[in-house]
Each structure stands twice: as structure tokens, then as C-alpha cells.
Amino acid sequence: MAVASISVSETPLVLYTLRRADDALILGHRLSECCGHAPMLEEDMALANMGLDLLGQARELYSYAAKVEGKGNDEDKLAYLRDVRQYRNLLLLEQPNGDFAHTMVRQFFYSAFADLYWRAMMKSSDPTLAAIAAKSEKESAYHLRHSSEWIVRLGDGTEQSHARAQAAIDHLWAFTGEMFEADASERGLIDAGISIDPASLRPQWLKTVADVVNEATLALPQSDWMQQGGRDGRHSEHLGHLLSELQSMQRTFPGATW
């Protein structure tokens, strides 16, 4: 790596915004990896569209984080010049695409959350975050619909698609708890009405997810042991590999444009 990482002054609002920006960028990047590899052309486009929605969300959130921080960073520096330990995304979103069932279950778990989350955030006392939430909510609502339809068809499809969908649910379940956590840094923002308490969304999320999973003749795991660490920069082995690809161009040719 030819270019050193930047340092970021993570005040609570900067950290909060970076966490959401990293969620959108990392999941968007994972979906972009499907481009040209989806099981059919129509789904290739659908996955790329969702990836582009998320990339758009990431850009707005990074730009806002840079503005709030006010240290001369910008969206590109925040995306391309932070190392793996500086990334704050949910562990769920960096998990590899795996088979199509894994890609869809990951999308389903997150979209069911993001749809509720952004809808609630439309009432944020921070006007920029409220505006980003209003745009993101419409996109997330479609991601949820699309992934839900696939979960039903995979689960209630063939023996093989059912088994793969169930395996994906079982594998990714332990990464869902992190979505509903809020640390001390975020508590202040919640109390100030800038953000909302994600834990308050879990009952509705669970209902949405359980309804679809039941219709799909699949089952949710009983285990409530949950992975955590992504919000603090402790990631699975997969994120470093993802970032090395995502960042290689800007690290090698700083500021390159085309």
C-alpha cells in the first residue's frame, strides 16, 4: 500500500455517520461483486441496482461525516484511505456472497432492519440525516420486497434451494444481533433525538423476518448468541480482503480520476 491511512476525529456524530456509511458501502461493494456472476441476467441487474442504491447512500453519509468532522477529509478519503480497523460496518454486511441463498439472506436480514431504521430516522432532529433517511427508506423498502420474494421462492422451492436457504439463515443468524446495539457514544445522540434506539425496532424486525421465513417453510434458529465487534472496528477476516480490492487503485495511484 503506497498511501498511508488518514486519521478521523470520531466525535459521536462523526462516528455515528461513519458507521451507517460503512454499512452502505460494504454491502454495496459485496453486491457489486455479483455483477456478471448472478444466476440470471435479470437478477444480475437487480443486484447491481441495489448495490448502486447503497453506494448512493454511502456517498451522502460520507460527505456528511466529512463535513461534520471538518478536518479536510472527504467522501473519497473516508472510503479509500481508512484501514480495516477504522471501518465501522456491521459484521453481517462484510460476509462473503457465498451462494445465492447467502447473498439473499444477508440482504433480507439487513433490508428488513434498514427499512425500519431509515423510516424511524426520518424524524431525526438532524435535518441532513432526516433527508438521507427519507431517500434511503424508499430504496430499502424495495430491497426488502425483492429479497423477501426470493426467500419465499428459495425456501418453498426445490429440496436443494430449501436446504441452501436454511443453511444461509443458520450461518448468518448470529450476525443479526449487532444491528440492534447502541454503545455509549450513540446513547447521547439517541437522547438528543438525532438518532433512534435500534433496539426498539427488534420486535417489528423479528415479526417481519419470521413471517417471511414461515411462508418460505424455513425456520429461524433458536440460538440468541450473537457476534459483535464491527461497530468498534473488530472485523471478520473477510473485510481486509474486501478493502484491499476496493482501495487498491487509490492506494496505488493517490487521487487518480478517470
Binding site: M40, L41, E42, E43, M45, A46, N49, Y142, R145, H146, E149, R153
Partner: protein
């Protein structure tokens, strides 16, 4: 149904599920119609593969409305469309060619009428 349906004079569009060309096996083909603005008719824009009507609608949204093309989408199973036979275009369409009096421009409108 057209009068000649079933006699071989009218043909169904090829059903690509049963046909030999199956780029995406067992996935039916759908025709997509988009209405771009209120007041306009839905217009055929292309086709796609989808397992059922719900997915066809979603795929149509993802394939054909990426640049703000539409306000409304219809999807129709391709094999539900009955098409005229191109080989019969003489019988079908040539008789109309000589009936120029069916065009409004055939008639001279007196100046007194003004704008119609």
C-alpha cells in the same frame, strides 16, 4: 379469440419453456409494457425471464425503469400473446394500402371550416 384460432392460420408466440431455446431453463418469458406518463398508453419495451408474475414485475422494474422511464408497468406471459403470421402479411395488410380515403388527409377541408 380470433376466428381462425386453432386452425393454423394464427399462431401463438413460441413458448420458450417447451421450445428448444432455453437460456434460463424452466424460467418463463414475459413481455413488458411501460406507461411513461399519465394519459399515455402502456408501450411494449421488451421481454425478460421470471419464475412468476411477482418476480416478473420486479425484474421489469429493475431492467426497464432504471432511468426514470415509467410510472406504471404491465407484465404479460409471452405465451399468452397470439401473433399474426408474417407470411400472411399480404392478405392481412395489403388490402388497406389502396384505401387512401381512410386517411383524414384525403379530404379537402373548406377554408370556412377553419381549424378542426
Amino acid at each position: 379469440m380470433p376466428k381462425n384460432a386453432g386452425t393454423g392460420k394464427w399462431r401463438k408466440l413460441p413458448n420458450r419453456i417447451e421450445g428448444t431455446v432455453m437460456a434460463t431453463p424452466n424460467t418463463p418469458l414475459w413481455e413488458v409494457f411501460i406507461r411513461s406518463r399519465n394519459g399515455l398508453a402502456h408501450k411494449h419495451v421488451g421481454s425478460l425471464h421470471a419464475s412468476d408474475a411477482t418476480m416478473a414485475l420486479q425484474n421489469a422494474r429493475d431492467l426497464y425503469t432504471r432511468r426514470g422511464e415509467g410510472l406504471s408497468i404491465w407484465v404479460v406471459p409471452s405465451n399468452a400473446i397470439t401473433a399474426s403470421d408474417p407470411a400472411e402479411k399480404g392478405m392481412m395488410f395489403e388490402p388497406a394500402e389502396s384505401k387512401i380515403y381512410r386517411h383524414p388527409t384525403f379530404y379537402e377541408v373548406p377554408d370556412e371550416v377553419g381549424h378542426m
